[in-house]
C-alpha cells in the first residue's frame, strides 16, 4: 500500500479553489473527499489542515460560506467560489504551472543535453 501523505498547506488552497470551481458550492467533507479522490487516494486531508485553510480563504474573500442542507438532509456549511476567488485561482494555477515546469526541467536529465 502506497504511503499516504498529508497535503501541503500551500497547494491545499489551490486544490480547494479548483474543487469549488469544478463542482460548485460544497461542504467541507465534500471538498476533502474530492481532493482525496482526485489525488488517487495518495493524499489525506485532515480537519486540522482543511478547516484553517477554508477559514483563511474566507477571510481573504476568495470563498464565501453559507449554511445549507446536504443531500441526506444534514445541516452543513457550504463553501462557494467568489469572483475574487476565480481570479486568484487563475493566478495560482498559472504560477503553479510555471513552478512545476521549472522543477520538471531540473528533474528530467534528458532535456539538459541540448
Amino acid at each position: 500500500m502506497a504511503e499516504k501523505s498529508d497535503v501541503w498547506q500551500g497547494t491545499l488552497a489551490l486544490m480547494v479553489l479548483k474543487t469549488l470551481e469544478t463542482l460548485g458550492p460544497l461542504h467541507g467533507y465534500g471538498i476533502a473527499r474530492r481532493i482525496e479522490q482526485t489525488s488517487g487516494d495518495l493524499l489525506v486531508v485532515r480537519y486540522g489542515t482543511l478547516y484553517p485553510a477554508l477559514l483563511k480563504l474566507e477571510q481573504e474573500g476568495f470563498i464565501s460560506a453559507e449554511w445549507g442542507v446536504s443531500d441526506n438532509s444534514r445541516r452543513a456549511k457550504y463553501y462557494a467560489l467568489t469572483r475574487a476567488g476565480k481570479k486568484q485561482l487563475a493566478k495560482e494555477a498559472r504560477e503553479w504551472g510555471q513552478t512545476s515546469a521549472i522543477i520538471a526541467r531540473f528533474i528530467s536529465p534528458a532535456e539538459e543535453a541540448s
Binding site: 467533507y29 489525506v44 480537519y47 478547516y51 484553517p52 477559514l55 477571510q59 456549511k77
Partner: protein, 908 residues
C-alpha cells in the same frame, strides 16, 4: 488589500466568538458524521466506522484550536488578557498604584507643560509656505550712524540685497506702534511697515480684499495710503464685517484706506508681537513723524528676511551676500558723509560681516532669552521625571519581591519568561498611561498657571494652554518611554527568581533577593545625584533672580514712582505743539498736591528699549576708543524725580532750548571711560563721527550711574540731552514721584492728561517697581519652576531613600536582633543604618557634583552675579540634601535601634 480584509474579519470575529465556536463545532461534527456514514456505507460495523473516521481526520480539538488562532487576533487577545491581569494586580494594591500614578502624573505633567511652551516658543515653524526656506539677514560691526532695534539694517541695504541670486524674495519689516482712529475713537495698536513683496514672499493670501503686491504698493514714496488688517483685529474690532473694504481710517492721523484682511492664522514673523495693521513701508515718513530715514544708509532700522531658492543652503546663501555687502561698504566710505572717518572706524566698517539665521520659526526679540530658559527647564523637568521613574521602579521591585512566590509558581507550571515579562511590562504601561493621562490634565492647569506668571507683554498673547495633537503625541510617547524606563529593570529582576529556593522557603524572604536590593540602592544613588543637580540649579536661578532684583538700579523710592507713556506725534501733533504739550503737562502734574516732583524721558527706562549713537569727543581722536554711547532725552527735574544724585555741575533747566547753547549731561561711567579721573564739566562732545560732525555740545552736568534697558544689561555709558534741544517729535515716558498710594494716583494722572487733550491715549501706566519686575519675567519663571522641580525631586528622592532603608532594616532584623542580644548599643545601631544611608548619599554626590558643574556651564548665560561653579551654592545644596537624607534615614534607623532581640530571633 486582502491582508486588511483579513484583519477586519479577524477583528469582527473577536466580538461573536461564542457563536463562531459553536458553528465550528457543528461543522466539524457534521464532517465527522458524513465520514462515519461513508464508512458505514462501505460496510464497516458502526463502532469501527466511527473509530476509523476519527483516526483519519485527526484531532477535533486540535483543529478547533488552529481555527481559533487563525480566526481571532492572538496578539490583541493576549494583550487584552495581560491588561486584565495588570488591572487586577494593581487594584489589589491601591495605595501603591495611587502613589505610582501620582508621582508619574507630576513628572509627566511637568514635562508636558514645559514642552507645551517650548513647542510654541522654540520649535514651531511659521504657518507660511515652506517656512524652512526663510532666512533672516543682518550685519555686524559699526554702522557709523544710528541703530534702532536689534538686527537692524538700513533700507538701502534691503534694496541692495534684491540683487542677491540666492534668494527668490528679499523683504523687510519694521514694527512700530500706531494710533488708529475710527469714528472719533482712537486706539493704539501694533503696526508693521512691510515691503511690497512681504505677503508674496511668505505666501500669505488675503482672507478678504487683497494683500500688498510689489506692483501696487511699493512704487511711490509716501504714495500708498493703504492698510491690510490682521485677521484677529478684523474679527475683534470690526466684527468680521466684509464692508470694511474701502473704509477710511486715520492711522497716526493720516487718512488711509483698508484694502484687505490677511489670512486667518497668520500672525506674522514675530508671533509674540503680532501687528494689527500692516502698511507699505514707503509710508514710513508719514507713520513715524520723527524721522524719514528711508534713503539713509547711516540709519539702520528695518529687519531683512529672505526666501532661499532651492539649491542653496543657509551657509551658501549667506556667503553669497558677503561680496555684495563689502562692495557697498567700500562705496559708502567714499560718500561725503563718511569721507573723513577715522582709520580705525574705516577698518572696522569694512570688516562688517553678513550674519544670517534660519527664520523657519520666525523671529522674536523675546525667544532668545526664553528659549534657553525653557530648554534648561525642559532638562530639569526631564530629570525630575527620571527621579519619579526610579521611585516607581523601586516600588515595583518591592512589589515583585512580595509576589516572588506567584511568579515562581507560574514559571513552574509552564508560563514562559517572555509571557511573564510581557505581563509585568503591561502593568508598567497601565501605570504610566494613567499617570500620563492625569499628567496631561495637570499640564493644562500648569501651563495656565505659568502663563499668568509671564509678564503681560508679547508672549502671553500668543501662547495657548490647550494641548494640540503634537502635545498629545509627546505626552503619549513620554508615557510609553517612561513605562519602559521604570518597568523593564524591575521586571527582569523579578524574573530572575530561583524557582527551587523560592518555592521551598515557606516564609518567603522579606524584600526580595540580593540583586533587587542592589538595584534599588543604585536607583537611590541616581536619585540623590539628580536631586543635587536640580537643587543646585534651583539655587543658581534663585540667586540670579535675587541678584537682579537687588541690583542697584540707581533710582530711589521706586515704589512711589508712577510712570506712563504718551505719544502725541501719533495723534498728529507738530513738533512745536508736542514740545508745548509736554511742557504744559509737566507743569500741571507738578501743581498736584500729591506730586513731589515730575519729569519725562524720551526712551522709557527698564523696558528693554534703548537708543545708542556714535559720539565725538573734542580733542580726543576716535582712534583706539569706543565711540558708542547710550543716549536719552530728558526734561528738567528728571534726576530729582528719579532720586539720582548730580555729582557735579547742574541739571537741565527750562532755558535749555533751541537757540541756547547745546548742553549735555553724562553719567559717571561715561566720564570714567572717556575722561578718566578728569572732570567732564565744560568739555565738549558731538554727535556722529563722520564729516561735518562738530563737537558743539557742552557737558554741564555729571550724574551718578543708573540702569537703562534693565538690570541684566547693567549700567551703560550714557549721555543725556535736554529733550527740547533734540528736536524729535517722539513719545515720552513720564515719571512722577508721589506721596500717595498709586491706585488713586493713576486716576488723577489720567484726568490730568485728559484735561489737556481728552483724546490723548495713555499707555503703560504703572509703578516703576512693577516695571522692573516685568523685565525679570524669564528669571522669575526659571527660578520658580526650578525651585518647584528641586523640591519635587528632593521629596521623591527622600521617599526612595526611606523605602530602601526601611527594606534594609527589615531584611536585617535578625542580624540586628543578634547584635543587640550580644550587647550592641542602640546608638551604634542607629549609626549603622544612618551610615548606610550616607554612603548612598555620598555615592550620589560623586555622580551629581560633576554633572551639576557641566550643566551649570550650559546655563551660565542665564545666570547673573553668580558663577556656574559657585561654592556657596554647592555647599547649600549639599547641606539641604544631607538634611533630607538624615530625615529619610532616621525613621528606619530608629526602628532598627528599637528592635526587640527576643522577638526578632524568635520570629525566624
Amino acid at each position: 488589500m486582502n491582508a486588511i480584509r483579513a484583519i477586519l474579519y479577524r477583528l469582527a470575529s473577536l466580538f461573536d466568538r461564542r457563536r463562531r465556536d459553536r458553528e465550528l463545532a457543528e461543522e466539524l461534527e457534521c464532517h465527522l458524521q458524513m465520514e462515519i456514514e461513508a464508512n458505514l456505507r462501505s460496510g464497516m460495523p458502526p463502532a469501527e466506522a466511527r473509530r476509523a473516521a476519527l483516526l483519519k481526520s485527526g484531532g477535533v480539538e486540535l483543529a478547533k484550536e488552529e481555527c481559533r488562532d487563525r480566526r481571532g487576533l492572538p496578539v490583541l487577545e493576549t494583550t487584552l488578557r495581560d491588561l486584565h491581569h495588570a488591572w487586577r494586580f494593581l487594584s489589589r494594591g491601591p495605595v501603591f498604584a495611587l502613589v505610582a500614578v501620582l508621582s508619574l502624573a507630576l513628572g509627566i505633567g511637568a514635562n508636558t507643560a514645559i514642552f507645551t511652551l517650548l513647542d510654541q516658543v522654540v520649535l514651531r515653524h511659521l504657518p507660511v509656505q515652506h517656512p524652512g526656506q526663510l532666512q533672516m539677514i543682518w550685519t555686524t560691526g559699526p554702522s557709523l550712524g544710528s541703530n534702532q532695534g536689534s538686527r537692524a539694517s538700513s533700507y538701502p541695504m534691503y534694496q541692495d540685497f534684491q540683487q542677491a541670486p540666492a534668494f527668490s524674495y528679499v523683504f523687510c519689516r519694521y514694527l512700530t506702534p500706531v494710533s488708529v482712529s475710527l469714528a472719533s475713537q482712537t486706539e493704539r495698536v501694533m503696526g508693521e511697515l512691510v515691503s511690497g513683496n512681504y505677503f508674496q514672499a511668505l505666501g500669505i493670501a488675503p482672507a478678504l480684499g487683497r494683500v500688498f503686491t510689489p506692483e501696487e504698493d511699493d512704487r511711490v514714496y509716501k504714495g500708498h495710503p493703504v492698510v491690510v488688517l490682521s485677521h484677529p483685529y478684523w474679527v475683534e474690532r470690526f466684527g468680521a464685517d466684509p464692508g470694511v473694504l474701502g473704509q477710511k481710517i486715520l492711522v497716526n492721523n493720516y487718512p488711509m484706506v483698508i484694502v484687505g484682511v490677511s489670512a486667518a492664522g497668520f500672525s506674522g514673523i514675530d508671533a509674540a508681537r503680532s501687528p494689527q495693521v500692516r502698511i507699505p513701508i514707503l509710508m514710513k515718513p508719514l507713520m513715524t513723524a520723527a524721522s524719514d530715514n528711508l534713503g539713509d544708509r547711516r540709519r539702520q532700522w528695518v529687519q531683512i528676511f529672505a526666501r532661499r531658492k532651492p539649491g542653496y543652503t543657509i551657509e551658501s546663501a549667506q556667503a553669497s551676500l558677503q561680496p555684495l555687502l563689502t562692495g557697498t561698504l567700500r562705496a559708502e566710505l567714499e560718500s561725503p558723509a563718511l569721507r573723513e572717518t577715522s582709520k580705525r572706524n574705516r577698518d572696522l566698517f569694512l570688516a562688517r560681516k553678513i550674519l544670517t539665521e534660519s527664520a523657519a520659526n520666525g523671529y522674536s526679540s523675546l525667544p532668545t532669552s526664553y528659549s534657553r530658559a525653557l530648554v534648561a527647564l525642559m532638562c530639569m523637568a526631564g530629570v525630575a521625571l527620571l527621579i519619579a521613574c526610579f521611585n516607581v521602579a523601586s516600588l515595583l521591585i518591592a512589589r515583585a519581591a512580595a509576589r516572588q512566590k506567584e511568579l515562581a509558581m507560574r514559571l513552574a507550571v509552564g508560563a514562559s519568561r517572555g509571557q511573564l515579562l510581557r505581563q509585568l511590562l503591561m502593568e508598567s504601561a497601565v501605570l504610566s498611561t494613567l499617570g500620563g493621562a492625569l499628567g496631561l490634565l495637570l499640564s493644562v492647569a500648569m501651563v495656565r498657571g505659568l502663563l499668568h506668571f509671564l509678564p503681560a507683554n508679547g508672549m502671553l498673547t500668543t501662547l495657548r494652554a490647550e494641548p494640540d495633537w503634537r502635545i498629545f503625541a509627546f505626552n503619549i510617547a513620554l508615557a510609553l518611554v517612561t513605562a519602559l524606563l521604570f518597568g523593564l529593570a524591575p521586571a527582569r529582576q523579578a524574573l530572575k527568581v530561583d524557582l527551587w529556593s523560592t518555592l521551598k522557603d515557606a516564609a518567603g524572604s522579606v524584600g526580595g533577593n540580593r540583586g533587587s536590593v542592589t538595584l534599588r540602592k543604585s536607583l537611590v544613588t541616581a536619585q540623590v545625584a539628580f536631586s543635587f543637580l536640580l537643587v543646585s540649579g534651583a539655587l543658581l536661578f534663585s540667586r540670579t533672580l535675587l541678584n537682579l532684583k537687588t541690583t542697584n538700579s540707581g533710582f530711589r523710592d521706586m515704589d512711589n514712582l508712577v510712570t506712563f507713556q504718551i505719544d502725541p506725534a501719533r495723534s498728529g501733533y507738530s513738533l512745536t505743539r508736542l514740545k508745548d504739550f509736554y511742557q504744559r503737562l509737566l507743569e500741571s502734574l507738578r501743581s498736584l498736591p500729591q506730586v513731589k516732583s515730575a519729569g519725562f524721558a524720551w526712551v522709557p527706562l527698564l523696558s528693554g528699549r534703548e537708543a545708542d549713537w556714535d559720539v565725538l569727543v573734542e580733542g580726543m581722536p576716535a582712534e583706539g576708543r569706543e565711540s558708542q554711547a547710550w543716549v536719552n532725552g530728558l526734561s528738567p527735574g528728571y534726576w530729582r524725580t528719579m532720586g539720582v544724585p548730580m555729582l557735579e555741575g547742574r541739571d537741565f533747566e527750562d532755558g535749555d532750548v533751541n537757540g541756547r547753547p547745546k548742553v549735555a549731561i553724562v553719567n559717571r561711567k561715561f566720564a570714567r571711560d572717556i575722561f578718566g579721573n578728569r572732570s567732564p564739566i565744560g568739555l565738549r562732545i558731538g554727535l556722529d563721527t563722520g564729516r561735518g560732525a562738530k563737537a558743539d555740545i557742552e557737558i554741564v552736568g555729571l550724574v551718578e550711574d543708573s540702569l537703562y534697558e534693565g538690570p541684566r544689561q547693567g549700567v551703560r555709558r550714557q549721555v543725556f540731552f535736554p529733550f527740547p534741544q533734540m528736536n524729535q517729535s517722539v513719545g515720552a515716558a513720564f515719571y512722577i514721584h508721589t506721596s500717595t498710594d498709586s491706585a488713586t494716583m493713576f486716576a488723577t494722572l489720567r484726568r490730568n492728561v485728559a484735561e489737556l487733550d481728552p483724546t490723548m491715549p495713555i499707555y503703560e501706566m504703572k509703578m516703576l517697581a512693577d516695571q522692573l519686575d516685568e523685565t525679570l519675567g524669564t528669571e522669575r519663571l526659571t527660578a520658580t519652576l526650578s525651585a518647584a522641580f528641586g523640591i519635587l525631586a528632593t521629596l521623591l528622592a527622600a521617599v526612595g531613600l526611606y523605602g530602601v532603608m526601611a527594606l534594609t532594616v527589615a531584611r536585617r532584623t535578625r542580624e540586628i536582633g543578634l547584635r543587640m542580644a550580644l550587647g550592641a548599643r542602640q546608638g551604634a545601631l542607629l549609626w549603622m543604618v544612618m551610615r548606610e544611608a550616607f554612603e548612598l548619599y555620598g555615592a550620589g554626590l560623586a555622580l551629581g557634583v560633576p554633572c551639576a558643574y557641566l550643566l551649570g556651564r550650559y546655563v551660565s548665560s542665564q545666570l547673573f552675579g553668580v558663577l556656574p561653579a559657585d561654592l556657596g551654592t554647592a555647599v547649600a545644596a549639599l547641606m539641604a540634601l544631607a538634611m533630607v537624607t538624615a530625615g529619610a534615614a532616621f525613621v528606619p534607623a530608629r526602628r532598627a535601634s528599637r528592635i526587640d532581640p527576643i522577638r526578632a530571633l524568635h520570629d525566624e
